[in-house]
Amino acid sequence: MKLSWGPEEEAFRAEIAAFLDEHTPEQLRDGRDWIGEEADEVPQWARDWQALLFDAGWMIPAYPPELGGRNATPLQTLVYQEELAARGVPRSVHFGGYGIVGPSLLEFGDEAQRALAPAAIRGDTVWCVGMSEPDAGSDLGSLATRAELDGDSFVVNGQKVWTSYAEWAERCFLYVRTNPSAPKHQGISVLILDMDTPGVEVRPLRHITGNAEFAEVFLVDAVVPRSNLVGELDEGWRITMGSLAHERGGLWLEGVGYAQRALDGLVELARDRGLAGDPVVRRRLGELHEEVRSIRALGYKGFASFAQGSSAPEHSYMKLAASELRQRLNEFGMDLQGAYATVTDPTLAAQGGRFQAAWQMSLAATIGGGTSEIQRNIVANRVLGLPRG
């Protein structure tokens, strides 16, 4: 065990730090947690930012330059993720394209489909990911949107829900059932859907924040060419697992960086409110600090196994821990404001209403991407090896 970075990592860090300091758009600075603007399309500044990262080889550093990277090592990727996390800077305002679709196309697509990956990662094409349905949430394997092969095309009927960025998206990475008689995880396929296909209708859904970031997507006899099938027919379930494997070692850093910045804000808030001497407030801040730092240590421990190529059970804990902690941090930030706790007017609430806004958003963190309950089931069965119920 050791505690130091080598000079090569430090040089790498200096390079990305300088890049971020110089180029990060105003809208994403100061740990401002970007709340989707009410916009019909991805804002131009956000497109420019993602394209700039790609062209400079800073989008997915582990990839080669033609895919927005610079062939970075796992350790360099970690350094990169640390610098993003410390600043709270997102690479993109729509995660699906570079986080899920691009890497999946590269791994599972044919040549023509792989050619779509650079634009997905660069953000030139905006993608949404259509997995969840009204009757298939945590139990994704029960999805029912039907795609029937008819000659050279699929005819798709069904409904998706909670589809983030569907309004912005030009394409959808769509999970469909192609074989209703096979066992449920074996009859699923993935299609590339053009969002302007006749029969596709997007109805925006508002979040509790008031923003319409996600949507319902209705599909009525939508025709998708057979060549848009990704991977083998009926073998789409494998693809649900494939996203950014090489970044998994450090994806947790985003959650930890977030928590650390929230904690910094809490310390400032306690001082501003004259509560820095209050023993209850102090105890609580100490406790939150303990959690943030021990979760961070856990993440690094997982990275050590990841970098050595072993499986890292630590990572199964990270989403669960970071998302629940995030809610507690923000809720405490509201509580510290007394009667102003629920005041959302940014000119009245402390720190521009940051905690009130972030708290509302944090409520999604324990639902999206697998609920906390599902994460606990995963840890119970796969990490602790407890018998299945």
């Binding site: 065990m1 505690l3 960086g257 100490g286 600090h289 303990e290 730092r293 630590e314 018998p387 119920g389």
Partner: protein, 343 residues
């Protein structure tokens, strides 16, 4: 905060792996549950002597780890904590030894090679773990088992006394494997020590104790997971019930945090990293909290059997609570963290 500072490579080197394996083999083979039980709980005629003999013949030599990297000492103490290994190894190697080194004491070498053992007396009757001028020291661990007592006094300064010459009386407490005593501070001239060296010794003692607690939590976790897989009710292993599973998951997350935090703190101390002060408090708070969490959860998951004297679970429950309250409980360390953040 400083993201750029620490790197943290948690991978064990080959030597560390060997150290851990050696410690595990030693404790599995030679420190069975009956050894601890016969010495401290169902005390047999031969029990205390057997425990003493185990310490004297098998553990004394490991005191040398106290002079080396804290990472290594912590690895060993996690293993000794898991089995509740008898004797004063922790206090002697992790606390008294660095204090004696700081004082340039002539007997430091003897404590390092295990030919002498020592304990530390610092707390006052209110349980403050800080050097002072009080005439009685409280919560002194392993008094009856050591050769020397290091009194840590205001200044800071130390007074090293032959244990045979001090007047102490035992404090009846939950954890019998780590006996505590109150001791009158004898007259004698103290020698000044560098405050930074005292702080360093406290950090080593605190992280060492936290490492033991990680071992205690680990034992409880392993025993509980094994039990719930095997115990059947309603025609199913009780470990398949989700209501129970989630409690176990939450305790295991606490345990993972604690284990990572202790390893990180040990690395920070060894590197004298800027994050060191915070890391030590985080480690003790997380480890004390996790051991207690597992003690409660483990007992609950065992049902009635866990509440019996015969089951070894309560031995760890006692150590979990006892260890948390030694050298500052989790809340005390959280308050120190708050001081680092706010003052």
């Amino acid at each position: 905060m400083c993201w750029g500072c620490p790197v943290v490579d948690f991978a064990l080197s080959d030597e560390q792996q060997l150290l851990r394996d050696t410690a595990r083999a030693l404790f599995t083979k030679e420190c069975p549950p009956s050894l601890v039980r016969d010495a401290f709980y169902d005390v047999t005629d031969a029990g205390p002597a057997a425990a003493r003999a185990f310490h004297d013949t098998r553990l004394r030599e490991w005191a040398a780890l106290g002079d080396g990297p804290l990472v290594d000492l912590a690895l060993f103490l996690e293993e000794s904590g898991a089995v509740l290994a008898p004797g004063p190894l922790w206090v002697s190697a992790a606390w008294a030894l660095p204090l004696l080194r700081a004082a340039g004491h002539t007997e430091a070498d003897a404590v390092a090679d295990g030919s002498l053992t020592a304990t530390v007396a610092v707390a006052d009757a209110t349980g403050r773990w800080e050097p002072g001028d009080h005439d009685e020291c409280w919560f002194v661990p392993h008094l009856g088992e050591v050769d020397r007592v290091v009194f840590l006094r205001s200044g800071p300064s130390v007074l090293v006394v032959d244990a045979a010459e001090v007047v102490g009386s035992p404090i009846e407490a939950l954890d019998r494997t780590r006996p505590l005593a109150r001791v009158a501070v004898p007259a004698g001239s103290t020698s000044p020590v560098d405050p930074a060296a005292v702080a360093d010794a406290t950090d080593r003692a605190t992280v060492g104790l936290a490492a033991e607690l990680v071992g205690v939590g680990r034992w409880l976790q392993e025993a509980t997971l094994a039990y719930v897989a095997e115990r059947v009710q309603f025609d199913k292993p009780v470990g398949s019930f989700q209501g129970l599973q989630w409690k176990l998951v939450d305790a295991s997350l606490h345990q993972e945090r604690a284990s990572a935090a202790v390893a990180y703190a040990a690395m920070c101390v060894d590197a004298d990293d800027v994050d060191r002060a915070s890391a030590v408090h985080v480690a003790k708070a997380a480890a004390g909290g996790s051991a207690r969490h597992w003690a409660r959860t483990g007992l609950q998951a065992h049902g009635g059997i866990g509440y019996t004297w015969e089951h070894d679970l309560h031995l760890r429950l006692r150590r979990a609570y006892g260890g948390d309250h030694l050298l500052g409980d989790a809340d005390w360390h959280r308050d120190r963290l708050a001081a680092l953040l706010l003052d």
